[in-house]
Every structure is written in structure tokens, then in C-alpha cells.
């Protein structure tokens, strides 16, 4: 599904990613952990194609296709989804309207007609139930006045609506209380299949109790310094990031 080779990227000459190698296969869940400033969110943004970041070396392939020169919206059309750490507000645009536009733009890119209203209605009903979202919530302006938890739940609702091939969850657990965390994780688990893949970016082990990863990678100074199974996350939790920092120094 996703193949990243020797990826170097940064902003205005400051290199943030320092040679990342990562392969994610369909049906897998990967967790990326690491201390603040290790480059986790940058990696997510670079995969999504944010133009602010410049890729100086290496490649990102999605299903065998090089994503270099591919715009963020084209990547989205190909099935890349990013759950934002800080979702932006768009005043006056309802969640429903936003989703309708997003779905129909993706369909248009694939040469399909707009989704009929009754099918979209059914989809919305189904997915909002999955994430235990109140109908009123859908009429509100996108992220405007949402609590931290509501924003994150809304991100996963959008993911459920768009059914991506590759979902990247950038610190989706931050700002969530334990109930919301359970609902969000439950939603992600239900959307998981053998056809899609998930990359979970997090500081804490906590989320991984709910979304169980097949692989855990530790990012430090723009490089994956350690990879392992779920146990690595537990070890990290116990020993702290200093353990990794010290180990890489050796």
C-alpha cells in the first residue's frame, strides 16, 4: 500500500525528516511514536502532500505509484486521509455540506456522478450512528465552537464517510476523554479491513490499547530509530523516551 524510501523533507532548508523508510501493507495498523519535535506530524503532512514542506530526497509510493508531483486533493482522491491534530474551522459551512462537497469532488475525480441525496442520507445516518454523533452536530459549522473531543470525533466521522485506503491519524487521542477515546477507537476498528491500512501517530500508549497496532515505530530526530510490535509501545511507556534518546546516542 504505502512505501516510503529514504525520505528527506523540511521547510526552507531546515531538514525535519532525515531519511525515513517505512512500508505499510494493506490490512496493517502501524503506530508511530516519538517525543515532541521528532517529526511525526511532518511525516503525516508530507504523505498528505502539504506544499509547505519540500521533499529533498527519497520517494513516497502509494500502491506502486510515486506521489511526487501529486497535489493534496489528488492524493485524497487516491484514498489518502489525514485526521488532523488541529482541525481547522470553516464558519458557515455545515458538517453535512462539507462532507457532501468532499464526497462529490472525489467522485467527480473518478468520473462518477454526484452521490444521490438518498444514498448520502443513508450513509450519513449509518456513520453518525457508528460514531455516536448527534444529528444536530451535523448542522453546525465545521469545527466552529467544537470541543477538542468533538473535533476529533468529527475527523473520524469524515474518515468513515470517505472510506480511505490509507488513514493517518495524527494525535487523534489528544483532547479526548476516556469515553470519547473508546468511541473513536471503536469507529476506527470497525472501518479496518484487509483492503485498507491505518497509521496511528501518538505520544501515548493509551490509544494503542484500543487500536492495536501490528507494528510500532519510534521516530527520533526525523528518523525511525526503532521498530517492533505492540510490546515496544509498552516498553516505551515504562522507560520513557529518554531510553530511546540514550540508546541512539550510543
Amino acid at each position: 500500500m504505502l512505501k516510503i524510501k529514504n525520505l528527506h523533507a523540511g521547510v526552507e532548508g531546515n531538514e525535519i525528516l532525515n531519511g525515513i523508510d517505512l512500508e505499510v501493507k494493506a490490512g496493517e495498523v502501524h503506530a508511530i511514536m516519538g517525543p515532541n519535535g521528532s517529526g511525526k506530524s511532518t511525516l503525516a503532512a508530507v504523505i498528505a502532500g502539504k506544499e509547505e514542506f519540500e521533499v529533498t530526497e527519497g520517494t513516497i509510493e502509494l500502491e506502486g505509484e510515486d506521489l511526487d508531483e501529486t497535489s493534496p486533493e489528488e492524493r485524497a482522491h487516491k484514498g489518502v486521509f489525514l485526521s488532523f491534530q488541529y482541525p481547522v474551522e470553516i464558519p458557515g459551512v455545515s458538517v453535512t455540506n462539507f462532507m457532501k462537497t468532499a464526497i462529490n469532488e472525489s467522485r467527480k475525480a473518478r468520473g462518477l456522478e454526484d452521490m444521490p441525496a438518498n444514498i448520502m442520507l443513508k450513509l450519513i445516518r449509518e456513520k453518525s450512528e457508528l460514531l455516536e454523533i448527534d444529528r444536530k452536530f451535523l448542522s453546525r459549522s465545521l469545527n466552529e465552537g467544537f470541543s477538542g473531543g468533538e473535533k476529533k470525533r468529527n475527523e473520524i466521522f469524515q474518515m468513515a464517510m470517505l472510506e480511505p485506503k490509507l488513514a493517518i491519524l495524527d494525535e487523534t487521542d489528544s483532547g479526548l476523554d476516556i469515553d470519547a477515546l473508546r468511541i473513536v477507537a471503536n469507529g476506527v476498528n470497525k472501518l479496518k479491513s484487509q483492503e485498507n491500512a491505518v497509521i496511528v501517530i501518538t505520544h501515548y500508549q493509551r490509544l494503542l490499547d484500543y487500536i492495536v497496532p501490528d507494528f510500532v515505530h519510534v521516530l527520533h530526530e526525523g528518523k525511525i530509530v526503532k521498530s517492533g510490535t505492540k510490546d515496544l509501545a509498552l516498553e516505551l511507556e515504562e522507560k520513557g523516551y529518554d531510553w530511546i534518546k540514550n540508546e541512539t546516542l550510543v
Binding site: 485524497a76 482541525p87 481547522v88 470553516i90 458557515g92 453535512t96 468532499a102 448520502m120 442520507l121 448542522s139
Partner: protein, 481 residues
């Protein structure tokens, strides 16, 4: 507010609405220049009674003494008023074959708006009084309206058929000498619309007028007079599109609304005149005077979507004369490239318990300048008057400007005035967020702009709102690289 299944469904339905047409008509045009002789000639051409000719002459004599206003936040080359032809009338029926002669860029715009000639006819439920090059050439749905005693016709026809009404009300809200452009309009207005709703009648359909400027070099001086008699209601729509032209075209319209006791007038405008090209060349100069008078318990609501014109100078206003009367102003003004807009409203509170609401949304892109100018005036007698004003500006890019000039004059201590203003910029983060969801930048901007303008778009009749939304998208196309 509950969000029912029904509402959700409604929001999901794809709404389509098409309008418009273009005609090329051989015109009879007066020689350029303005004088008493020309004013008399216009009046004669229109077979007007002597009182009307005199009324025009009075206006002309005032105009000659007046100077163009310079206080607005706009810069332009002043028109040469002697280099304009003041009358042009279609002398044959509409011909639709000549679309080939039309600027292809304009046709492209029409295509984007989904306009076809046939679809015009499908405007069921909307009576269209078409003003083309100053003379009304078509009026429909007249019969249905006549049954209710509603008069909806061209102003020239009204001068002949209903002189008592015209004479009684014309110039009562916007006097001949009101301002430079209003005086000019009063002297030379060629045509426009007239509407009278009798006592206690609720007009069963939206009344609409489609204005055009078809002939190069002819100024347009529309005159509109709407009278809602006691306890009546009318919703009036005005919309315009104009062909691309190289030279500047002057437009100085006057609209007068009179809402008698308990009456309500809703006046909606979508204005899309040629704004000039990307270099700021050409474009319409739009200097308009619009004002309404509210008697006791009456209500006047102005809603405007301004996307066109090179220069816009326009302040739809309400004189809240009667006790408990209500004035509203909802506006979206979009400027792109080199457009300049100085627009807003005046709410003059004279009566007790009068209320007014102002919601203004300015969107600036390119190298344009967008100004809101509003006056809220509470007179000494206006006990317990209330006003709420909200002015929001949205900026796109780094070369445009948004300005707000609120004037508040309060002469009664019981008044309550609120003024809110915000300025925001479309952020790269917002665009990237939309991009990430598969929405390209152009569409993302349209979405953000529509969201920003929603409060005002919601005030428009449904079919107009859809049209306005499309206009917003087209006007801002290519404004972010």
C-alpha cells in the same frame, strides 16, 4: 434548533437554477451630450405629460449646479457627462440569432451560470419585467397580478396610466436634488419599473426585473418606484448581468420604496455588471441611490449581492419614520482584480421603537478595495430605538484592502446600538484541510466564501440564492494562485 431528517435531506439535494439571456438589438440612440433640449426630447420621446417634463427640467437645473461627490473611498477617472448618449431605445423585436457576435469570454461566463434562452421561459412563478437598453420590452404575468389589483409595469407606462400615483410618490423618498447622481437620474431617466400593491394585498409571486446594459456608450438611468399600500406585502427581485465592454459605462439608478402602515417590502438585488478585466480596464461605474420610507409598523428589507462593476457607490437606506417600523440591510460585496466598492447603508430612526439590523459581508481579492460605509442615526424623538450592526470582512491574498466606516449619531438616550466587526483571511491551513478532503483550491475558496456569506444568502429567495452563490464562485475564480 432541531436538525430534522427533512432539513438534512434538503441540504443534500443538489439545487440547480438557470437564468438569463442575451440579445443584440438595433437601437435608436440620441446624440451624445446633455442639455435642457435633450431632457425635453427624452420626455417628448416618451410622450410624457407636461408635469413630468417640468419635473425633469427642475432636476436638470439642480444637477447643473451640483458637483460629483468625492468623499467615497474610490478612485476613478470622472466620466465626461457630455460624452454620453442619454437615450437609446430598441426599435425592433428581440433577435436571438446573433450570439456569435458576443464576446466569447462573456458567453463562457453565461455558460458557467448555466444560462440558456429557453430556460428563461421556465421561470414559472416569477414575473419578469425586462429592462433592456432603457425601455421595457416585455411584461409577463400581468393578468394574475391585475386580478389582485397589483400594478407592475414600466415607469413610463405608469406615468401615462397611473399619473396620480406617480405624481404623489415620485421623488418623495429620493428628491430630485438629493445628490449629484440622483439629480442626473431624475432629469434623464429613460425607464425602469413601477409597482403598486393595494391595501391588504399580499403579492402572490416574486416580482423581478432583469436589467441589462447592451449598447456601448449609453448610460443607464433606471428609475424604480415601489409602493406598498397599507398592510400589503411584496418581494421584489432585481438582477443584472452585462456584456464585456472596453470603455466605462455609467450607471446611475434611483430606487424608491414606500411602505405605508403595516406594509412590508423585501427588495433583493444580485448585481453582476462587467467589473473590468484583470488589468482593471473597462467595467461599469455603478452610482446608485436606493432608499425606502417606512410608515407605522412597516418593514423594509434590503438584500444585496454585489459582485460586479468597476466602481460601486451604493447605500440602500431606510427612513424609519413611523413608530415601530423596521429596517434591514443584508449585503455581500465581492471585489476582485481592480474593482472598488464603497457600499453600505443608512438607517435613519425617526419614530419610536424603531429597529434596524445591518449585516454586511465584504470579500476582497486581487488588488481590489472594499469599503463598508454605514450611518445609524437616532433622532431625538426616536425613543427606544435599537440597532444591531455586524460588518465582517474576508481578505484573499496580500494586495487587497477592506475598510469599514461606521457612523453613529445618537440624539436620544434610550437608544441601544450594537456594532460588531471582524476581519479574517482565508488561511492556507483552511485550504489544505479542504484539499486533504479531496476539494481543490478553487472549490475550497467557493465553499469558504459561501460559508462566510451564508447569513446574507439565506435572506434571498431560494432561486436567487443559488444564482448568487454561483456568481460568488465565478467572481472569485483564479483569485488565489
Amino acid at each position: 434548533m432541531a436538525y430534522t431528517e427533512e432539513e438534512l435531506k434538503k441540504e443534500l439535494e443538489t439545487k440547480e437554477y438557470e437564468y438569463g439571456f442575451y440579445t443584440d438589438i438595433a437601437s435608436e440612440t440620441f446624440p451624445k451630450g446633455l442639455s435642457e433640449e435633450i431632457v425635453i426630447a427624452i420626455s417628448q420621446k416618451k410622450e410624457e405629460p407636461a408635469w413630468m417634463t417640468n419635473w425633469r427640467l427642475e432636476a436638470y437645473r439642480s444637477w447643473v449646479q451640483m458637483k460629483e461627490p468625492e468623499w467615497a473611498n474610490v478612485k476613478y477617472k470622472k466620466p465626461d457627462f457630455q460624452d454620453i448618449s442619454y437615450y437609446s431605445a430598441p426599435n425592433s423585436k428581440a433577435k436571438y440569432e446573433s450570439l456569435d457576435e458576443v464576446d466569447p469570454e462573456l458567453l463562457e461566463t453565461f455558460k458557467k451560470l448555466g444560462i440558456s434562452i429557453d430556460e428563461q421561459k421556465k421561470l414559472a412563478g416569477v414575473a419578469v419585467d425586462i429592462v433592456m437598453d432603457s425601455v421595457s420590452v416585455a411584461t409577463t404575468f400581468k393578468k394574475t397580478l391585475a386580478e389582485k389589483g397589483i400594478i407592475f409595469c414600466s415607469i413610463s407606462e405608469a406615468i401615462k396610466e397611473h399619473p396620480e400615483l406617480v405624481q404623489k410618490y415620485l421623488g418623495t423618498v429620493v428628491p430630485q436634488k438629493d445628490n449629484f447622481y440622483a439629480a442626473l437620474n431624475s432629469a434623464v431617466f429613460s425607464d425602469g419599473s413601477f409597482c403598486y400593491i393595494p391595501k391588504g394585498v399580499r403579492c402572490p409571486m416574486e416580482l423581478s426585473t432583469y436589467f441589462r446594459i447592451n449598447q456601448a456608450g449609453t448610460g443607464q438611468f433606471e428609475r424604480t418606484l415601489v409602493i406598498a399600500d397599507k398592510d400589503s406585502y411584496v418581494s421584489y427581485l432585481e438582477g443584472c448581468t452585462a456584456p464585456s465592454r472596453d470603455e466605462n459605462q455609467l450607471h446611475a439608478a434611483v430606487v424608491e420604496l414606500i411602505a405605508l402602515d403595516e406594509a412590508e417590502i423585501k427588495y433583493s438585488t444580485v448585481q453582476n455588471w462587467f467589473p473590468g478585466d484583470k488589468e482593471g480596464k473597462g467595467g461599469v461605474y455603478n452610482f446608485v441611490t436606493k432608499r425606502g420610507l417606512c410608515e407605522k409598523n412597516a418593514k423594509i428589507s434590503w438584500t444585496q449581492v454585489e459582485t460586479g462593476s468597476a466602481i460601486t457607490w451604493k447605500y440602500p437606506s431606510c427612513i424609519l419614520k413611523g413608530d415601530n417600523s423596521i429596517g434591514e440591510f443584508y449585503s455581500i460585496a465581492v471585489t476582485n482584480n481592480y474593482q472598488q466598492a464603497d457600499t453600505g447603508t443608512k438607517m435613519v430612526h425617526l419614530g419610536k421603537n424603531t429597529r434596524s439590523t445591518i449585516i454586511s459581508k465584504g470579500i476582497s481579492a486581487g488588488k481590489s478595495q472594499n469599503s463598508y460605509r454605514g450611518l445609524v442615526q437616532i433622532n431625538g424623538r426616536a425613543k427606544n430605538a435599537r440597532n444591531f450592526s455586524q460588518c465582517d470582512s474576508l481578505l484573499m491574498g496580500n494586495e487587497c484592502g477592506a475598510h469599514t466606516f461606521p457612523y453613529i449619531e445618537v440624539k436620544n438616550k434610550t437608544a441601544q446600538i450594537e456594532h460588531e466587526a471582524t476581519t479574517s483571511k482565508i488561511g492556507e491551513d483552511q485550504i489544505f484541510y479542504c484539499n486533504q478532503r479531496g476539494i481543490d483550491t478553487e472549490k475550497a475558496i467557493a465553499l469558504i466564501v459561501n460559508g462566510f456569506s451564508k447569513e446574507v444568502l439565506n435572506k434571498l429567495p431560494m432561486e436567487f440564492a443559488v444564482e448568487a452563490q454561483k456568481l460568488l464562485e465565478i467572481s472569485l475564480e483564479g483569485s488565489v494562485g
